[in-house]
Amino acid sequence: MTTETGIGAAVKRREDFRFLTGRGTYTDDINRPHQAYGYILRSPYAAAQITGIDTSKAKAAPGVIAVLTGADYDKGGLPCGWQIHSKDGSPMIEPAHPPLCKDQVRHVGDQVALVVAETYAEAKDAAELIEVDYKELPAIISTAKASEDGAPQVWPEAKNNICFDWHIGDKAATDAAFAKAHHVTKIDLVNQRLIPNAMEPRSAVGDYDRATGDYTLYTTSQNPHVIRLLMGAFVLQIPEHKLRVVAPDVGGGFGSKIFHYAEEALVTWASGKVGRPIKWTAERSEAFISDAQGRDHVSHAELAMDKDGKFLGLRVNTIANMGAYLSTFAPCVPTYLHATLLAGVYTTPAIYAEVKAVFTHTVPVDAYRGAGRPEATYLLERLVAKAARDMQMDQVEIRRRNFIPKDAFPYQTPVALQYDSGDYEATLDLALQMSKWADFENRRAEAAKRGKLRGIGISTYLEACGIAPSAVVGSLGARAGLYETGSIRVHPTGSVTVFTGSHSHGQGHETTFAQLVSDGLGIPLENVEVVHGDTAKIPFGMGTYGSRSLAVGGSALVKAMDKIIAKATKIAAHLMEAAASDVEFKDGNFTVKGTDKSIPFGQVALTAYVPHNYPITELEPGLEETAFYDPLNFTYPGGTHICEVEIDPETGITQVVNFTAVDDVGRVINPMIVEGQVHGGLAQGIGQALLERCVYDEDSGQLLTGSYMDYTMPRADDLPSFQVATHGTMCTHNPIGAKGVGEVGAIGSPPAVINAVIDALAPLGIEDMSMPATPLKVWQAIQSAPKKMSAA
């Protein structure tokens, strides 16, 4: 196919025209006839009993249609999609999660009432007239202290607030490795809580049609079918054929729009009750206290080494905060998406990890870009950097010495995963060269002359994504399959509509998937249209998260194309009076091997729909195929991130002056989009390392970082331009060779940044720095440093 639009071409995005001209259709842009508006009254307390609710004044307020509370709600609670079992075999504690609280609230922002009115302002005004009597209770916020004796209890059934106490790996083998260690490096780390902050606030429009009994939900979701299944089957008991979920243009997700949220169920349910469409859109301050948050781990880790710095064993103990309720995929994040990654790119033969998940009176925590894998990478790469300092080894050398060699694949780790491919030396070498690593000491000396502390940090990381083989995740507790679907509809004139279960909320599938299909079928790009995000249009699909769209969703399309080509080949063979086995398909033409007999794809398409001369006894007319693709394994992107910082000791401000990322993401369809994905991930990773932190008041449980005045989002002048490159080894088990790119930036970068900060501060005798390395924290560390800066 033409190289300008095929696989590997930096095709400009087809979705951009509508976004650039203000013609996108985001959920809040959708208005239904006779639409009413919903406002949700939320708990002002982290923990309180509701002793009474009086809605009479609110009901009488202008424009109010309904005021609904927990007493009115007669449907199910929000389900959790993953069940973890504790070490002792007992299932995790899974508390009820009603969309409206009845007797008790468990975090600031918990839903108490839904007001439906003619306008949004009227609904909001009326909510102020609802009188709720609360009896405030003591709250537990701290991850580290949640399971201490005497801590306030979030749930009576979760003793010491423990949701589960899980482990993985071989404890005895790990103990034995530590017993023969030459040196053990230990580290304590906090992976702070983050707030995802997609720029489009969540929104939902519920629309019940009395005439047909059908419900439609328009929602800001990464996976409309998952919402339909969870909300239809578990929460509202609406059969799937009577429920349509549309996720139109979605303004970023980063994980936070995977989950099924209370508001989706509430507007859908209430729409049926009042007989009007109802729109709810979060204000940003509501998003801060109702969108699932990310990370929040407290960990201790130990690495055993022999005298040459070879890793012998790794022990990890993590406490993970779940928040007040279990969000849809929360339990898998600190377990199977975290602890299974602890081998990283290294040959560590024995690993044992324990993960205790705790409830606190905070907003639920779930997957946020990377989900568990950034936590694992941060832990491992901080630990390896410290190990190198302990052993007085070079940061690069210690990594090389422990890399899984490129001829060792497939490689079985001691924590369940089998890596299919990779070349960690190659990505490292390229990153060293691009970052001018070898000359760094000159730059450090030059910066010192200007009174600046310059440091360099490295992270050689790996992630598991392309989520996921259904049977494998099923055996680990997933309550869903994680395949993807794709349909290809060839129209009579040879143009094609592609229906994918993947969802694009910035990733550019309308372009990438069109390139894939245009290339596969040998037809011009403009003849391919990609449809996603509507359960009434697409086959049952699992959506977009875990860097799975191309590796899993794209593979489903390849499988569907295989079926199209197989059928089309038979039609072409009939037309050319040849045996199907003698016909080959290439560049959009069917040719009888060894002859010049050839017919184009378009003619075969037309024949399929106008079957006058057709093998009708063997073949149905039409040319449309659907495929479900269930991956055989996870995919394993990896690479090297190198960060260079300069710290102003007078102010403590850390500036990222260079950032190099070399990532192995497997096959690249559109390099422009791939680079963009890496840039965005890096910004979020650097944001975590230097700027972002979700803070609750430990006593009252109030969110202190509840707006953009308090929660530091990375802005243009906080970040540098990035140097990014890819170096691909192909995924061996999917038909594209793609590994995934959505999360690499956010996974690999935080430890590179913090390792650079520590390297910059090391001359002062500073050995530790926690995230985010804010100016205040860095300045204080410099003030109390064991050594002073030498005069330049």
């Binding site: 951009d16 509508r18 203000g22 720029m199 840039h679 005045m709 243009a716 930036g745």
Partner: protein, 160 residues
């Protein structure tokens, strides 16, 4: 309820509004111009930037009645028919957008930035866009796009 009149994208419009209605809500809800977005409630994100009398302004910080008689340009009014404004074209060319949610505000801010500083450096672009948050792109390609957009705008101005 008071009536407000203004010119939006070259068209005279009027509407009855509650006095507390913000300009952004008037544009979105009453005029159906949903290209202007709301990303926050503290005037921090810039998703709502439009031009009022030729200057970029966060339309969530202005009451609609304060724009009485003003010339307002929204993202819908920037292109000429199907021909993108040079800044829009540069965002497309340099992949300066992903989910597109911050994009209208980002483009409107960038156009104003270049009007006041026709040849901005990378640092000036980064500082100039400080009031616009993008969660998707890491700003790398936005900066490239604004640089290219500035060049194209200048070339266009010279021709024009």
């Amino acid at each position: 309820m008071p009536t407000v009149r203004m010119t939006v994208n070259g068209r005279a419009v009027s509407g009855e509004i509650e006095a507390r209605t913000l300009l952004v809500h008037f544009l979105r809800n009453q005029l159906g111009l949903t290209g202007t977005h709301v990303g926050c409630d503290t005037s921090q994100c810039g998703a709502c930037v439009v031009h009022v009398d030729g200057t970029s302004i966060k339309s969530c910080t202005l009451l609609a009645i304060q724009a009485e008689g003003a010339e307002v340009t929204t993202i819908e009014g920037l292109a000429t028919g199907d021909e993108l404004h040079p800044m829009q074209a540069a965002f497309r060319e340099h992949h300066g957008l992903q989910c597109g949610f911050c994009t209208p505000g980002m483009v409107m801010s960038a156009v104003d930035l270049v009007k006041t500083n026709p040849d901005p450096s990378e640092q000036q672009i980064r500082e100039g866009l400080e009031g616009n948050i993008c969660r998707c792109t890491g700003y790398h390609n936005i900066v490239k796009a604004v640089k290219a957009g500035a060049k194209a705008m200048n070339a266009g101005a010279m021709k024009g």
